[in-house]
């Protein structure tokens, strides 16, 4: 099997990697690039633990070939905080105890950010359906939904203050 050279941007940084044709983007992130924040929970797109964004759009990195990343911008959990400053979602997940074991947390954060980017004022139902592609077995989702609601409220308040 001959390797495929792929040029991409990950969390804004140019990255070049070589992968095999049958490797998924998740394999590449975890095994070749050392970005193990995205987790492999099922490899069938059913659990969302491997969530990343491609050109800003939410996807499961287990359902993307590494070769497909050519020319695209990939966003992963490792790029969510701005230096020392955690993203509000990251802060609120800790504050609200929205994680227990934490294996699903990176995927939830990526999905929640994608949700709020599109819809800064979601209803509880919109949050629940927006996060339905991410499985959590510890929390029963209650505290996750509350954390996202709290972030959305904070973002709206900030906006109101600025206006």
């Amino acid at each position: 099997m001959s390797g495929i050279t792929v040029n991409t941007k990950i969390n804004g940084d140019p990255v070049e990697f070589i992968c095999d044709a049958d490797e998924t983007l998740l394999d590449v992130l975890r095994n070749r690039l050392g970005l193990t924040g995205a987790k492999e929970g099922c490899s069938t797109g059913d659990c969302g633990a491997c969530s990343v964004t491609i050109d800003g759009r939410l996807t499961c990195s287990c359902l993307v070939l590494g070769a497909e990343a050519e020319g695209h911008n990939i966003g992963t959990i490792e790029g969510m905080a701005n230096g020392e400053e955690l993203h509000p979602l990251q802060k609120k997940f800790i504050e609200h105890a929205a994680l227990q074991c934490g294996i699903c947390t990176p995927g939830f954060l990526i999905a929640a950010k994608s949700l709020l980017d599109k819809n800064p004022d979601p209803t509880e139902s919109e949050i629940r359906f927006g996060l339905a592609g991410n499985l959590c077995r510890c929390t029963g989702y209650d505290k996750i939904v509350r954390a996202v609601q709290d972030v959305a409220k904070g973002m709206r308040n900030n906006k109101a203050k600025r206006a």
Binding site: M1, I4, D20, A21, D22, T24, S43, T44, G45, D46, G48, S51, I54, R57, L58, T59, C60, C62, L63, V64, L65, A67, E68, E70, A111, S114, L115, F129, G130, L131, A132, G133, N134
Partner: protein
């Protein structure tokens, strides 16, 4: 395994035709990669068609809409004109998988997988959508219901690729709807799916209708008897009962891990009623 990303569909079709081993088309990949990872398929060649011209475009034409083969579910949902014209088709496509899957999955892929439970297909069939097929012998246009011929099998010949799906222009006073039954609220494969598209006259009488069922037979089925049951009616109780009965009668399902035969037959009728009422409302009926 090799990976190719041609820039024209013609080139893609040639690669497909020439390949001696097992070749697969990759658009959204949300089914293909699952089959690859679970060892269900062992491809020699994967042809990614996302970079082919028009593959990711939704075009509004004089006769309706042309939807490129690699347009994702999320992109369909973001197209206001398409959503207004064919809400049932868009809602069906948007039911496929999670938000993550929506970022990638395509209606064309949903059609070519030839799963009887594919969510977008009953809605497409009800909408009288057509598929534009490109192959070694040129282009042909076929009704979508003729693409799947059995679970996992299509009528596409070696070297043929679906380039786009065509939805007709929406006639006035028309509406469509798709409903499916799943055990959870998300993330499941349809146990039963029903697509209904209908047109009303000025008095609210159904003049035209198409009804299609998913997950109740080896392929998605168009049910003319169900359409007949509501054409000429105002969707009163008797008409809806006849619609439900016709849908149940058209079912030839199996017992499996997702539902029983009896359940599917019964629920097909229930969902048909509900979908017809939504379609009527969308058509401006009261």
């Amino acid at each position: 395994m090799r990976y190719e990303r041609p820039t024209t569909l013609k080139a893609a079709a040639q690669m497909l035709a020439k390949e001696k081993g097992k070749a697969f088309i990759l658009a959204g990949g949300t089914d293909l990669l699952v089959r690859l990872r679970t060892g269900f398929i062992d491809p020699d060649l994967i042809i990614d068609i996302k970079d082919t011209s028009g593959a990711r475009a939704i075009q509004k034409t004089a006769t309706g809409f042309k939807i490129g083969a690699a347009v994702s579910g999320a992109e369909l949902g973001e197209n206001a004109a398409l959503k207004k014209a064919w809400p049932g088709v868009v809602e069906a496509a948007n039911l496929i998988g999670s938000k993550q899957v929506q970022g990638r999955c395509t209606m064309t892929g949903n059609l070519c997988n030839a799963s009887p439970a594919a969510d977008s297909v009953p809605a497409l069939v009800a909408a009288a959508a057509k598929a534009v097929v490109v192959g070694p012998k040129g282009k042909r246009t076929v009704p979508v219901e003729e693409i799947p011929v059995g679970p996992g099998r299509t009528s596409l010949k070696k070297g043929e690729i679906i380039e786009s799906l065509i939805l007709p222009k929406r006639p006035p006073k028309s509406g469509d709807a798709y409903l499916r039954f799943i055990p959870r609220t998300e993330m499941d494969i349809a146990v039963v799916g029903v697509g209904v598209s209908l047109t009303l006259d000025g008095k609210g009488v159904v003049t035209k209708a198409r009804v299609a069922l998913g997950a109740v037979a080896p392929t998605v089925v168009l049910v003319p008897a169900a359409a007949k049951a509501i054409i000429g009616t105002k969707l009163d109780k008797a008409a809806l009962d006849a619609l439900a009965a016709a849908c149940s009668a058209a079912c030839n399902p199996i017992d499996d891990k997702r539902g029983t035969r009896d359940f599917r037959i019964k629920v097909a009728g229930v969902l048909a009623r509900r979908a017809a009422m939504i379609a009527r409302k969308r058509a401006g009926g009261k």
